[in-house]
Structure formats: C-alpha cells, structure tokens
Subunit: 367 residues, 2 copies
C-alpha cells in the first residue's frame, strides 16, 4: 500500500526531546515499513525514518528560532501533500483539523488521528461543521466531548515490542514518569507514596511554563531519598527505571486522551495505579495490569493488592495489546476500509454520470 | 456584484478597540454597499455592518476568553465560505494565506489582501508554493520581500471621506498617534520635537507586551507640557487632535506595509514627517503633503519647510487619493478583472472538454 504519513513540523520524527505525538508517528511509520508497505513521511528535514522522507522544512520548528509562523509552513505542507495526493492510496494526517476542508474535496482517501483533547467550546462548532471528515480517536474517552464527529475507529497507541523490556531487578520504589505540571498531579503521587511508606522516584521534565509550579508546589515536597526527583530520563533509561518500580503512579488530574507512560510501564511488567479519568479504564485491565481508582485513598488501598499481580502477565498483556505492530495493523484495517469506501464512491459517481442513482459517501464532498 | 468579504474573527468589524485591518475591512464593506453592491460580510457576530452579516462565531475572539484555538474557528469559517462560494461573484479574503489551497481549487474567483509584513523566512517558502494565488498588496513596499508572489495590484487603504475633517484650530504642537512600541520609535519623535522647541503630544495606546518598554524607555522622557502623553484617543477625538498639530511625526523604525495614521493626518490637513521606510514614500507626496526623511536630523530640517505646505492642499490630496470610495473602486476593478479571467478559464475548459486546446489560468488549479 502507498501510504503518506503527514506529521507536524513542530518536532522531528522521532522528536529530539519530549513529544508523544511525534514518537507515535515514528513508531507507526517504522511498523508500516516493516510490514512491507511503501510509506512516505512528510515531516521536518531533521527527521529519521525508514520511510521516504519528504522534508517540508529543514528543521523542527521548536528548535528553529527564525520561524515565527508555524501555520504558514503547515498550510504550505498541506498544499504539497495535496499536489501529490494521487501518488498515494491513503493519506494519514496528524495535524488536527487542518486537512479537513482541502482533503474532503479530492479523491485519495484520507484519515486524521486526533492526538489532543477535544473539550474546548470551539471544538463543538468545528466537528459539527466537519462531521464528514474521517477521524481516528486514540481512546474512546477522547470522543466524549464530540460524540458525533466523523469517528471511524479508536486505535490505541503502541510501542515497538522490544523497545522497553523487563529487567531482572527487585522493585523497591514507586515511579512517577512524565512532566511535572498541575494536570499531572505529582503532589497526589507524593502523598500516596508517603501514606504507603514507600519511596517515590520522580523521573520528569519541567517545562518553562511549569517552572514556577515546580518550585513553589512540588520542590517543597521533595524529601530524598523518600521522595526523590531524578530529572528527565531518556528512553534508554526507562527499562531500568520502570523495572525497579513496584508500580507506576498516574494520578492525572485531567482526562488524558491516552497516556503513553502507562503502556511503557506495562512493557516493563510494571503495574499502573491510575485515577479514573481519560483513557485509564481502557488501558488498564483491572486486577491484571493495574488498578483504576477514584482518589488518593483508593490508590493507597490498591497498593495493598499489588502483590496479587504478575509482572510476567503484565508484559504479556502489553505484547497482546500495545505494540506498534498491533497499532499499524489496526491502521491498515482502517486504510483498507476507507480505500474500499472511496472505490465505492467513484463507482457510484460513474454510475451517476451514466444517469443512474447516486450514493452519497461521507469522505468526498462535492465541490 | 455579489461580493463576500471574509474578515478575521479576532476583532469585531469595525473593532471595538484598536485594529487597523478590521477598520479597513469595515470601511471597504460600507463603501461597496454604498456603491450599490450586494455584499456579505463573514465576521464575528458582534460586528456592525450595512452588508449582510454571516456570523462565524458570536463574539470577537480577543474578547472571548473561552476560546483558545482561533485557528479552529478560522478554518471552520473557510469551510462555510467554501460551501457558499457559488452564491458569490467574488470572494475577498483578509485571512493571510489561509484560503489559498482551498480556493485555488474552485470556480468562484477570489482575492486576498495581505495586511501584514512579509519578511519572515517562512514567507519565501509560502509564496513560492502559492505563486498562483491572487493577492493585493497595501503598498508596493510590502511586496519587496516576496516580489514573485501572485500580486495582482497595490491598493492603498482609504478612509470614509468625511470621517475626519479639518477643524478651525491654530496648530500649536507636533503629534504622535498610534501605539507606543519600539518599532514605532516614539523616542525619536520626542527628540525631534525637543530639538525644534515645539511641544509634542503623544496620543497612543500601550499594549501589555509594550508596558515595560513604555515604563523604562518612554515614561522617563515625558516632560509635560513640552512632551505630554495623553493616552489613547477615539476616532471622534482625532479631527481635533490632528487639526491642532503642526505636523504628525511618524519616525517608524520598521517597514510598515501601510500606516493608516498618515492618511488620517492628511484628512485633517495635517502634514506628515516620516522616516524613509515601508510605505512612506508612496503615501506622502514630498513637499505637498509632508516630507520623507532619512533620520532625526532630516526630520528637524523638514520642520523648517512645513510653513511652505498648504493644509487645504493636503486635505485635497487626501480626497483625491485616500478615501474609502477610491479604495472600493480600485477593488471593484480587481474583482472585475478576476471575474473576466475566470470566465475565460471556464470557456477554455469547455473547449478542452470538447477535445480542443486548453489554456492554463493561474487562479484555478486543477484537482
């Protein structure tokens, strides 16, 4: 299949720094190439990929200080994709709603994965207007604010199967992994660990916008080694970090549409205790790969049940549910459905041109 | 003529506060209605217009604290315009490059007025890709960074003819009007007035981003009444303010693509002394409506030649060159050219469909 992946230019693919969306695009692209497909990746020129790279700008924009108007480059890239649309069987966008108007009016099937939250007031108006644009959710929870948008399937993210592996370490602490920011509720994690009398290690970045929050709210709570901040860790350090953790605490204060950190933990056999928000109920299998709880007290109670879980079983569930190959196969199924539907449309258009009945299809809007 | 004006949703049309682009769109729309055309204005619902208002969002976004993603609403509005494109003879956009891809691929002629500066590195790439999109410059100077873009004409802005009028006042001071920010070089204006021994009145807003600049750089230079800051003034106060000024000082430190304040001064018979940057040489007629100078010393020398200018003649030049009606008539000429060219294209397409030669036209790109 001739597949175009169209990525944001904000970060390289994969990203040089933090960037969940860009990591997922990289994993998906590599898995599709591994499965034998002819993949072209539209992305910044400093990306690294086994696919054909179509550079829409030499450098990732977050690191290119000269660029002030990212939209100018994203809309220029969409034009470049539009001109080459006929070279592909399917166009897969990761650019929010930007492609909708332009690609609803051409023949190559397209799909957009929405990577963010959708609960702003403008989203209602947006998705009511673009109900015909086919979109993939990264969790069912993500759909809740806009249930009537053009959802075609939920496809959970996946990691390369052997990128993170359980290590032979005795788990001795609780882990927190990700960003330190109010919506990640690190302070809840700290209190949970303290109530359980278990050391907590925080492997997290602090963005500039969250620097003050870190200094005023989180730093005063640090008590090494009981509550220890170890800074940001690389992908290469994650297997050790998560294998050494008795559980990952994910007490998110906002409805995260996915939560890569939860499947990274599972890849290392590490159970997850998460608050009942966003995608947690879909990702965690209660009593198998972790526990989904209502609050701090629920989390403390769940810690008492951790011993009943098998780290080997958790890794097996990761392999069954959250690999990049499974993600790629799910996307291929969607691509095939959209390609079949588009063929149907154009057959119907030919029939219509011959003066017979016409079938409406949602993915192609007449000019 | 059935004309659609498509405005940014950032401010109402006309704007409740500062907003040069939105004021120009309002003046143009009203002038087109006055000339008997059937005009539809796509804008925020709190706009006021004699045209038909198509509200794409109830409130101007700058005042709507709930909206975080203005692009979602601008791209939704473009889709709404696209669906109604056949209802119009011409679509006139004021949304930068946003409409290019979508409207190059449909039959109704369209044009975009670019209201901003075009000298960022991403603009080269953008306009090279969209060289076929027809655009209007607001000065010839604005074109310099991207000479090969799809320019169809320069149309200078215009004001409603009687919105500002000379008042019977004796001019006693120099005026500065606009925003206080580094690129407007208020400090130069202050030094010029002081070297001439003439009082300077600053009628200007201070944006939040420029508050520190104002406090640290400009406020220490204020010496009322010799150098007096009178705050932001309304349109209703401008006739008095500019009629009482011996000249307007416009020592801009950046290449402004137009400079409404210069024609506001002329409307009141007030001469302008401006630095040789951006559109100044096109707007000011040397020795008639003002002087274009290289620097502070040049400005001081020009003050000595102000007595040779006739305020009545300046007002006459305003009436001849910078009214909203003249602006509207210039746009109507562009609309007619684009409509004629589009008719040519579709004649050519019919010819082509019949198996004969095909003519390429820049404004419609084949799918």
């Amino acid at each position: 299949m001739r597949i175009a992946q169209i990525a944001p230019l904000t970060e390289a693919i994969p990203p040089k720094l933090y960037g969940g969306t860009e990591r997922v695009i990289s994993w998906l692209t590599e898995a599709l190439v591994d499965l034998g497909h002819d993949v072209t990746l539209f992305a910044s020129g400093d990306s690294h990929t086994s696919a054909k790279l179509e550079s829409a700008w030499p450098r990732a924009l977050r690191l290119d200080g000269a660029v002030r108007d990212a939209n100018a480059l994203h809309l220029t890239m969409l034009e470049q994709v539009r001109r080459r649309a006929r070279d592909f069987d399917i166009l897969h966008f990761h650019l929010d709603y930007y492609p909708f108007s332009l690609f609803m009016r051409q023949a190559t099937p397209f799909v957009t994965t929405l990577h963010g939250r959708l609960d702003l007031p403008e989203h209602q108006h947006l998705f009511a207007t673009f109900a015909a644009a086919p979109i993939v959710s990264i969790s069912n929870a993500q759909r809740l604010p806009v249930p009537d948008a053009g959802w075609v399937r939920t496809i959970h993210h996946g990691l390369p199967e052997r990128s993170l592996m359980p290590q032979p370490t005795k788990p001795t602490y609780f882990a927190f992994l990700g960003r330190i920011s109010p919506e990640k509720a690190v302070d809840d994690a700290i209190r949970i660990a303290q109530r359980c009398g278990v050391p907590l290690k925080l492997a997290a970045k602090v963005d500039n916008v969250d620097r003050e929050y870190f200094e005023t709210t989180i730093r005063p709570l640090l008590r090494p080694p009981a509550v220890e901040y170890i800074g940001e860790i690389s992908d290469g350090q994650k297997s050790d970090f998560l294998s050494g953790a008795a559980c990952l605490l994910a007490p998110s204060a906002w409805p995260e549409p996915f939560g890569l950190v939860m499947i990274e933990a599972m890849a290392c056999g590490c159970p997850v205790i998460a608050y009942k928000r966003g995608a947690a109920l879909e990702i965690i299998e209660e009593g198998v790969t972790g526990f989904v709880v209502d609050d701090e007290a629920g989390a403390v109670a769940a810690v008492g049940r951790l011993a009943a879980l098998s780290r080997r079983a958790i890794r097996k569930r990761f392999e069954a549910r959250f690999t990049a190959r499974r993600m790629a196969e799910d996307y291929l199924a969607v691509y095939r459905e959209l390609i079949d539907a588009a063929l149907g449309t154009f057959d119907a258009q030919r029939v219509s041109a011959a003066g017979k009945a016409r079938r409406a299809k949602p993915t192609v809007v007449e000019p």
